[in-house]
């Protein structure tokens, strides 16, 4: 695989990964913008409204038929956040030429259709159609409300909200209900036009076509992109320390039969010059791997929970530990999660644990090169960090991580928030009905 990158137009960059091994080619188009409470929902709504219809294919049915015609090309909206940068746009894939009837070429048509979604939405009097905006707004509100259906995901985002209540990271990638409710089609059109003018645009392609063909297809499609002053001032505020001396505690009650304990940590000083490879290995030893300390002790040895695992949000410098527990196991599980971190701080990491974690992290990185979707996400994150090495190179850096490196990270980590989701009907003598 060969990676190259070029600036196609002012503030429009194309990352090109040439590969022969896939049956489909993939492409993405991403607008980068700062994650903010006041704009997150508008940003999140835009690709969904744009996906409703273009000047050429006026509604979703026409668009879907067009994609069927292009042999099952798929182009869908994507909204994500990397640290405190909100990334909105489209991800698409289409069959490589080898599998098409002789002479068929999809690259220009597929790129053209994706860019049309961005630049030529179905409008009236220059404004996004109110019925599209209202209907997508309603769906966005539904998605925001239905976060609660998945208790595991819900408890994670509630912990982040509470922990980062003074930071933009508290804002979900979809924004909030309050903000979404205030959107109307005029306001959204204005915002959309602003984004086109000022957002850096990241394009990605992975497939058999050469850089020359891909850049030509994008350059032609994007010729009418209106560009103003481009806002390159994007970034993430990484706070090293916990907000208070002792971890804050928040609990919430819902009608659930299993409790969810989420503990939020700051990765701390190690984020000053983050060693990404070492943080991955630390996280694997502590809680993300299937031989991790949390899995082996909290779940297997002590049976305190159904699951216990850690997730690192490296771009923001956070680590979350999530666990599903019986309500009365709260203290025991919390204490054991701390105990395991303390063990790492004391250097209690066996050679087996350490080697297994390194193998696992390196293997995950190498396998990532077999999935276009993961490659796309990896390179987007690299671009935002100003880095240009690939997953194979990062896998090599993992080999160089030492035990001392991860002990240092364990010592740098600091607990900031403990969130507990518990049930309504737990027996509690205090407020029991007479």
């Amino acid at each position: 695989m060969e990676y190259s990158r070029t600036e196609l137009l002012p503030g429009v960059f194309l990352s090109h990964l040439r590969s022969d091994k896939f049956k489909t080619a993939c492409m993405s188009l991403t607008l980068l913008t700062q994650l903010r409470r006041e704009s997150a929902s508008m940003n999140a709504l835009i690709p969904y409204v744009l996906r409703r219809g273009t000047t050429g294919y006026g509604d979703m049915e026409a668009l879907s038929r067009r994609m069927d015609e292009l042999y099952g090309t798929a182009i869908e909206p994507v909204v994500r956040r990397v640290g405190e940068i909100q990334c909105i746009g489209f991800y698409g894939s289409f069959p490589e030429e080898d599998y098409l009837p002789a002479g068929e070429r999809l690259l220009p048509s597929a790129v053209g259709l994706m860019v049309d979604m961005l630049l030529s939405p179905n409008t009236r009097g220059g404004l996004l159609l109110p019925q599209y905006v209202d209907s997508e707004k309603e769906k966005l509100l539904e998605r925001l409300r239905s976060r609660i259906n998945d208790k595991r995901g819900y408890s994670l985002s509630r912990c982040i909200e509470e922990m980062c209540c003074y930071e933009d990271f508290a804002v979900s990638r979809l924004g909030s209900e309050e903000e979404a409710e205030n959107i109307n089609y005029k306001k959204l059109t204005r915002h959309y036009r602003e984004l086109l003018q000022k957002c850096p645009v990241e394009l990605f392609y992975c497939g058999k076509a050469e850089m020359k063909q891909v850049s030509a297809a994008f350059r032609e499609a994007l010729a009418s992109l209106p560009r103003g002053e481009i806002d390159y001032d994007l970034g993430t505020d990484i706070r090293m320390n916990a907000v208070e001396e002792q971890p804050r505690y928040v609990e919430e009650r819902l009608d659930v039969s299993q409790g969810k304990l989420v503990m939020g940590f700051r990765l701390g000083e190690c984020m000053e010059e983050p060693d990404v490879a070492a943080i991955h290995v630390f996280n694997n030893v502590y809680g993300s791997g299937s031989t991790s300390k949390l899995f082996m002790n909290v779940r297997e040895k002590l049976s305190l929970c159904y699951y216990a695992s850690s997730i690192a949000y490296i771009h923001k410098g956070l680590l979350l530990v999530a666990s599903g527990i019986e309500f009365d196991k709260f203290e025991a599980a919390r204490d054991e999660i701390f105990t395991q971190l303390e063990a790492m701080r004391q250097g209690e990491i066996s050679d087996e644990e350490f080697i297994a974690a390194k193998r696992c992290v390196a293997s995950d990185l190498r396998s990532l090169t077999d999935s276009q979707g993961e490659l796309e996400g990896f390179y987007l994150a690299q671009v935002l960090d100003g880095l240009d090495y690939g997953p194979m190179e990062l896998a090599e850096l993992v080999e160089d991580v030492t035990k001392e490196d991860i002990v240092q990270i364990a010592r740098s980590v600091e607990c900031d928030m403990i969130y507990f989701l518990r049930g309504l009907d737990e027996e509690e003598t205090d407020d029991a009905e007479p």
């Binding site: 022969d20 091994k21 896939f22 049956k23 489909t24 509604d59 979703m60 049915e61 879907s64 038929r65 994609m67 069927d68 015609e69 292009l70 042999y71 099952g72 090309t73 798929a74 894939s93 289409f94 069959p95 490589e96 080898d98 599998y99 209907s135 309603e138 769906k139 539904e142 409300r145 239905s146 609660i148 259906n149 208790k151 819902l254 009608d255 659930v256 039969s257 299993q258 791997g289 299937s290 031989t291 082996m296 779940r299 049976s303 929970c305 159904y306 599903g324 087996e352 297994a356 193998r359 696992c360 390196a362 293997s363 995950d364 190498r366 396998s367 090169t369 077999d370 999935s371 276009q372």
Partner: protein
């Protein structure tokens, strides 16, 4: 091993059946780092009653899943999950109504990991203590499932569709049913269903097919055991037991599933053709570019969570359509109206051709996913077809067949509607 080229999808497949009855498929993939293997038993949550060597055996709900959890324990006290993980592999397992799959993916040490996979799945080791401990862990898993609206909307539907077939019950069983499982139950079920003659091994990646065959023969031996015959009870009627059920849970937007049973082909090419036909017919009727979906989406009745699926397990065939909606009954009415429209006017030839054309993209995308490829091949091996044959078979399906499929299987009296609604405040 025999090899066959599939130029239309760019794959080559090696296959053989060993003396011990193990069915083996290997898909070599040069240029990929990932190597993936699934070792699957033709045994799932629904195989509760079976006959083996003239004897009928009844087992509690949840044994197949319980067995899956306990298989990782090795006689020397080690845990296969840990050994594989320590060796850089990413191992896991799942149990559905119809099959149990053990799998791993790795980038290095593939042959060693494959040996371990075959070894641990063919080495039963259970004690009263470890079984008792697992009862606690699985009880937690079952309780977690009880909080899940997705699980509730699905199992309510299955219970509404099926009068007695065991696919209506949760694969994991209940806290009560698993309390009857002992280490003897597990040994008996392992012996019955985990013989190589009832299993398949499918591998994809940059590997040597001959070497995989050699390893499988070496670890699993040559003896060929008789295959148990599952008893799923008397044939079900095609009508649902109960057309409508609502339950209230802690959800924001109501969830719903519309379901219908169909008479599943027993196996072979006919079974594959039926699966492809069902998927194509549903794509035309309610897929992303259908009238039905676009209209209800634009009206705000459906959202992007809407999807359709056809599940063929343990001799059943179940059509499942659903997602989130504030107005599930309206979706059901509109759906039935759509089916009646097909009965009256047929399907448009343009929509039919378009849908066939669009399957190229979705088929190729599915082929990029090693897990999907290997599990589909394994299910095909159990059901007597090769999943790689799908493209030419699909091309042969006619518009008329799709119309008949829709009007026969999705008539109003055949449908059941399961709804999970929000609790009244």
């Amino acid at each position: 091993m025999q090899s066959r080229d599939y130029p239309n999808i760019g794959e080559k497949l090696y296959s053989t059946v060993l003396e011990n009855g193990l069915r083996l498929n290997v898909v070599p993939k040069a240029g990929f780092s990932t190597r993936y293997a699934v070792f699957a038993a033709n045994y799932g949550g629904a195989h509760r009653r079976f006959r083996l060597e003239g004897e009928t055996v009844d087992t509690p709900a949840g044994v197949a899943h319980f067995l899956e959890h306990k298989m990782f324990d090795l006689p020397n006290g080690d845990n296969a999950l840990n050994i594989l993980s320590a060796n850089g592999a990413d191992p896991n397992a799942f149990t559905s109504s119809g099959v149990t799959c053990y799998y791993f993916q790795c980038t290095e040490g593939f042959e060693e990991n494959l040996r371990m996979l075959l070894h641990f799945v063919s080495t039963p080791y259970f004690t009263a203590e470890t079984v008792e401990k697992e009862q606690g862990i699985i009880a937690q898993e079952i309780m977690m499932g009880e909080d899940s609206p997705d699980s509730a909307v699905y199992y309510n539907l299955m219970a509404m569709l099926y009068a007695h077939h065991p696919v209506r019950d949760k694969v994991a069983g209940t806290v009560e049913s698993i309390s009857h499982i002992t280490h003897e139950t597990l040994y008996a079920c392992h012996k019955a269903f985990y013989a190589p003659s009832n299993m398949a091994l499918c591998v994809e990646g940059d590997v040597d097919p001959a070497e995989i065959e050699r390893i499988a023969r070496e670890v699993l031996g040559t003896s060929c055991a008789p295959v148990p015959e599952a008893d799923f009870g008397p044939e079900e009627s095609l009508l649902p037991v109960e057309p409508l059920r609502r339950e209230s849970m802690e959800v924001a937007a109501p969830l719903f599933l519309i379901g219908a049973k169909l008479k599943a082909e027993k196996g072979g090419q006919a079974a594959m053709r039926q699966r492809l036909l069902a998927r194509l017919a549903l794509r035309i009727l309610c897929g992303a570019s259908s009238d039905f979906y676009s209209r209800l989406y634009a009206q705000g009745v459906l959202n992007r969570n809407f999807d359709y699926d056809i599940d063929f397990s343990a001799g059943t065939g179940t059509i499942i359509i659903g997602g989130e909606s504030r107005l599930p009954e309206q979706v059901m009415q509109e759906f039935s109206r759509e089916v009646e429209k097909v009965r009256a006017q047929g399907l448009s030839e343009a929509a039919f051709q378009q849908a066939k054309r669009a399957t190229l993209g979705s088929t190729l995308r599915a082929l990029e996913d090693f897990e999907n490829v290997c599990v589909s091949l394994a299910i095909g091996l159990f059901d007597g077809y090769c999943a790689f044959d799908s493209m030419p078979v699909l091309q042969n399906i006619s518009r008329r067949e799709c119309e008949d499929f829709i009007t026969e299987n999705l008539a109003a009296e055949r449908l059941a509607l399961s709804i999970i609604q929000a609790k009244a405040v």
